[in-house]
């Protein structure tokens, strides 16, 4: 897996500041997503990770700075499960079909669309759940449903907000492998996480964020006590295990 990115830039943020109303959440962001990249945006909660994804998605406009994107870039977004309105009356099928909104105007699905939805659900291992209500799924299944919706669009860039928070260990493992496969097939992937050992350490490329970009590089380069302190504001110890950095809380140093 080579995800450090030397390909063409899909979205480029130049001196971007962003926030809500008059408050700034992100300052002076310079950052590009490249077409062969697999990037993790790492930071504590409230650091502005979701805000950064919204900038990449294009649903949030920067307060200052410029964002350029490749023409006709197809972007898909997998929301953080906690932010979804689970009480909304839709079935898994209806939800996944949403990504075909722009292509057709008739309300009902064509046989071709039905087959497409069925096959993407099948690929993600939730083929038998198409007619369940979205609330009747487990956390891992809900995650796969939004992945299915995202993949049906055949995006060049896939954004995922905390894809492994609130899902069990084996789902996390499955999701990571699936994303690695998609990346192999040429999809550019950006996800956010605050999980150092379970997630960040296994990604090819990391951007550490805490209202500004603290550091970026491979896990070996950025998972260091200095960068982690700058990102999370706490002193942590970093060990090495089979070539992967492992972070442990250094409570003695903190005390």
């Amino acid at each position: 897996m080579t995800g450090t990115g030397v390909g063409e830039a899909l979205v480029t943020l130049t001196d971007v500041s962003a926030g809500y109303g008059n408050t700034h959440v992100l300052h002076d962001i310079n950052f590009a997503v490249r077409e062969d990249q697999f990037t993790g945006i790492l930071g504590p909660s409230g650091a502005g990770k979701t805000t950064m994804l919204r900038l990449l998605l294009g649903s949030l406009k920067p307060q200052s700075g410029t964002i350029t994107r490749a023409p006709k870039l197809a972007v898909s977004y997998v929301p953080q499960l906690e932010t979804v309105d689970w009480n909304f009356p839709i079935t898994v099928f209806e939800c996944v079909l949403m990504s075909r909104t722009a292509r057709r105007i008739l309300p009902w699905a064509t046989p071709g669309e039905k087959a497409d939805v069925a096959s993407v659900l099948e690929r993600l291992g939730i083929g038998d759940l198409a007619h369940r209500h979205i609330r009747e799924l487990s956390g891992g299944q809900q995650q796969r449903m939004f992945l299915a919706r995202a993949l049906l669009r055949k995006p060049a860039m896939l954004l995922l907000d905390e894809p492994t928070s609130g899902v069990d260990f084996s789902t996390r493992h499955d999701v990571l492998h699936l994303l690695a496969d998609l990346h192999e097939d040429g999809m550019s992937i950006v996800l956010t996480t605050h999980d150092l050992n379970g997630m960040a350490a296994h990604l090819p490329h990391l951007v550490c964020v805490n209202h500004h970009v603290v550091a970026s590089g491979t896990p070996q380069e950025v998972i260091t006590p200095e960068v982690l302190e700058g990102t999370f504001g706490a002193r942590m110890e970093v060990l090495q295990h089979l070539g992967v950095p492992v972070v442990v809380d250094d409570s003695r140093a903190a005390g």
């Binding site: 972007v75 309105d85 009356p89 839709i90 949403m98």
Partner: protein, 289 residues
């Protein structure tokens, strides 16, 4: 048996039934979007805002009042959404001030220039009387327009209702869809105002949709059920209002409430749980909205 069929021999009653059923269906249909978007306070505000225009036009330009009130309604719809979008804090308060002022203006105009008491009460609570052919055609026209818009914009409306941020990023023009919905909503309120009444239109936007939500987990089925329930409430409510001699809107809403209780007793806690969080003002995210 004859007594049940008795009112049916009157042409005005046949018209009343038709208009009530169609009004209930139309409000039930649109209500699904309004309730799921947490917008019923806008429905409430709009019906009151339109009343100002309704009163002014009815009293001063009888022929043109539908056009005038429609214009007023669409204008208030657009200004309400503009206010709601621009400032998160205080939007509700601003809407409250604008719409109640418009309502008060309508009341004042009726009091000052209105010919008789009943027409005022009819406007507030709905009446079978005074349903003109023009109004029936107006209602039919608005209903057809609504069905056409929802048919052609079904997917876009669903996507923007569920997930406006992602819809925007997927190339859907969310603001435009919202404006379209507001125009449809104000036309529907206007078309149903006389038979349901200003103060009760908002209730008929909410009740059928909530009942439908209790009965199904599918969006498509909720739309169909809510329309059917709205029509049923309109029909039965109008019938009962004839016997009870009460304003039609009140009876239609009471029938809706009765249906709600019946459905609640059948679905129990499960149905009620499905309505949790329904029509809560959802925080809009991002600035695209």
């Amino acid at each position: 048996m004859t007594s049940i069929l008795e009112p049916l021999q009157f042409a005005f009653f046949q018209k009343g039934l038709l208009v009530a059923a169609l009004s209930g269906a139309l409000l039930g249909f649109i209500g699904v979007y309004i309730v799921l978007r947490g917008m019923s306070y806008i429905g409430h505000g709009l019906s009151h805002a339109i009343f100002g225009g309704f009163a002014a036009m009815q009293l001063f330009a009888a022929e043109l009042y539908v056009v005038g009130a429609g214009f007023w309604g669409v204008l208030s719809a657009i200004s309400i959404t503009a206010v709601a979008r621009r400032s998160r804090v205080g939007a509700d308060a601003a809407i409250g001030v604008i719409t109640t002022a418009s309502f008060a203006l309508g009341v004042a105009l009726f009091a000052k220039f209105g010919t008789s008491g009943p027409s005022f009460e009819n406007a507030l609570f709905g009446s079978i009387l005074g349903i003109s052919a023009a109004q029936i055609w107006g209602l039919v026209g608005v209903s057809l327009l609504t069905v056409a818009v929802v048919f052609l914009r079904y997917r876009v409306l669903l996507f923007t209702t569920f997930d406006p941020d992602v819809a925007q990023a997927s190339g859907v023009r969310v603001a435009r869809v919202e404006a379209l919905l507001m125009i449809i909503l104000s036309l529907a309120i206007l078309a149903t105002l006389t038979v349901i009444g200003v103060t009760l239109v908002a209730a008929m936007l909410v009740i059928p949709a909530v009942i439908a939500r209790m009965l199904t987990n599918s969006f498509g089925r909720m739309l169909a059920l809510s329309t059917g329930i709205g029509a049923l409430c309109g029909l039965v409510g109008m019938y009962l209002s004839y016997y009870a001699s009460v304003p039609s809107g009140t009876m239609i809403v009471l029938v809706g409430a009765a249906v709600f209780l019946v459905v609640l007793s059948i679905t129990g806690a499960r149905g009620l749980r499905r309505t949790a969080g329904l029509d809560s003002h959802r925080e809009s995210v991002g600035t695209a909205r």
